[in-house]
């Protein structure tokens, strides 16, 4: 129950911070903090907690959107599964570089799923997606990942101390 509460609170805080960054910094700096949380939980606690975080954070993000309900849940849950797959090949315990690499690949995968679903339903151009959605989000998420991981770890240690 404590674990679930921790995951729920962290997911909520991540969604709120993303909203604040959007309102105050605009469209060019949009790190996907929910994705960072999912990857963090997968690396440190395993697949099940990261799937819970993916579904909770995805539900909150889908609630704010007016389009395909479940898309964020799908993409974050898929990223949780892909992280499980990637960590057996890339992750080295204690290496921040390998964690950042996993976050980068997970962010790319997340955006590709969102692009695939959006492209099926609407007319969107890949060049616009690449320049205005993928680049800002992937770069911002990768940049912010080390700091986010440190903070998540501090919160987890304090919560479970």
């Amino acid at each position: 129950m404590t674990k679930f509460l921790f995951i729920a609170i962290c997911s909520f805080i991540c969604v709120v911070i993303e909203g604040l960054l959007d309102q105050n910094l605009g469209r060019w700096f949009k790190p996907n903090l929910c994705l960072c949380l999912v990857v963090f939980l997968n690396l440190f606690k395993g697949t099940h907690p990261s799937m819970v975080a993916a579904l909770l954070a995805g539900l909150m993000k889908d609630s704010l959107s007016a389009k395909f309900f479940g898309l964020n849940m799908l993409s974050l849950a898929a990223c949780a599964q892909v992280t499980t797959f990637l960590k057996s090949y890339i992750y080295e315990t204690g290496s921040m570089g390998s964690r950042v690499m996993i976050v980068f690949l997970a962010a790319l995968f997340n955006l590709l799923i969102q692009y695939a679903v959006n492209a099926m339903m609407e007319q969107i151009y890949f060049t616009e997606v690449f320049r205005y959605v993928m680049l800002p989000e992937v770069l911002a998420t990768t940049l912010v990942a080390p700091y986010a991981f440190t903070k998540f770890k501090q919160c987890a240690l304090r919560f479970f101390a």
């Binding site: 909520f12 969604v15 709120v16 993303e18 909203g19 604040l20 960054l21 959007d22 309102q23 105050n24 605009g26 469209r27 949009k30 539900l59 909150m60 993000k61 889908d62 609630s63 704010l64 959107s65 007016a66 389009k67 395909f68 309900f69 479940g70 898309l71 964020n72 849940m73 799908l74 849950a77 898929a78 599964q81 892909v82 499980t84 797959f85 057996s88 969102q114 959006n118 339903m121 609407e122 007319q123 969107i124 616009e128 997606v129 205005y132 959605v133 800002p136 989000e137």
Partner: protein, 261 residues
């Protein structure tokens, strides 16, 4: 394929099937969606309020200059409005003569913007009015400067509005100067794109785009924006126009929903 890889692939396929099921029956989750949306948007509003007040103080001089400019503009527009009211009265008299009835008065509801979707894929805002206030899906949303979007989802006292710059938003539009018709849709740049214009269409940078008579949801003549780019393609029979919306969609605080036309 190793066991791990097979497991991952099966999980991804199962997730996708679950997503399709959830997506097609999303109305079942409406109460959860709106409760979560309200909870997630509240802290953002609370924290944003002092930041907005600080910005107002920091940008005082710019704001005061803008205020003076707008006051001068109001004086000019008031004079124009008086002339147009005269034209409207004459128009109304002539319509009566021709027995042509048309309702020129719209019933509107004012609403505050209480939240926003932070995703770059969507342009959606939450407003604090819903079914209780007579709102329905598809109702047009405007401000004094022009078109904002339309109501996409409605609950008892909160609604979601898809903005003009959302890729899934489309509206029948026409060029004010040349009366060329097309379809204005949102793009991921935060702008709009005017589509289905032939390569010979009379449209240029600086043209004003308004809603067309052919729009089923929006009254005609509402301002959409201004053309900022026209691109012709050698082997393509259509031209591409980018429109900058007249309304500053990132700074919306209050909107009007048109209830009837």
């Amino acid at each position: 394929m190793s066991r791990n890889q097979t497991k991952t692939v099966i999980s991804l396929v199962a997730l996708f099937v679950l997503f399709l099921l959830i997506s097609f029956k999303s109305e079942i989750f409406a109460p959860i969606k709106f409760s979560v949306a309200r909870s997630a948007s509240f802290p953002v509003r609370v924290v944003s309020f002092p930041l907005r007040e600080i910005k107002k103080i920091l940008f005082y001089h710019w704001t005061f200059d803008e205020y003076l400019r707008l006051r001068r503009e109001i004086d000019t527009l008031t004079q124009r409005l008086m002339v147009q009211e005269e034209v409207l009265r004459e128009n109304s008299r002539l319509e009566k003569l021709l027995s042509f009835k048309r309702n020129l008065v719209y019933s509107t509801v004012a609403a505050n913007v209480i939240g926003r979707d932070p995703s770059n894929w969507n342009a959606t805002v939450l407003i604090d009015k819903g079914k209780e206030h007579g709102l329905e899906v598809g109702m047009p949303v405007v401000v004094a400067q022009g078109v904002v979007g339309k109501v996409a989802e409605v609950s008892e006292n909160i609604s979601k509005v898809i903005l003009l710059s959302d890729p899934s938003f489309s509206i029948a539009a026409q060029v004010l100067r040349s009366r060329e018709s097309g379809l204005a849709s949102g793009t991921l740049l935060g702008m709009c794109r005017m589509r289905y214009l032939s390569s010979r269409a009379d449209i240029r940078v600086g043209d004003t785009i308004i809603t067309s008579k052919m729009s089923t949801s929006f009254p005609e003549g509402l301002l959409i924006g201004e053309v900022i780019s026209v691109q012709t393609h050698e082997h393509n029979p259509i031209i591409d126009c980018i429109i900058s919306p007249a309304v500053s969609l990132s700074q919306l605080e209050e909107v009007l929903i048109i209830k009837n036309q």
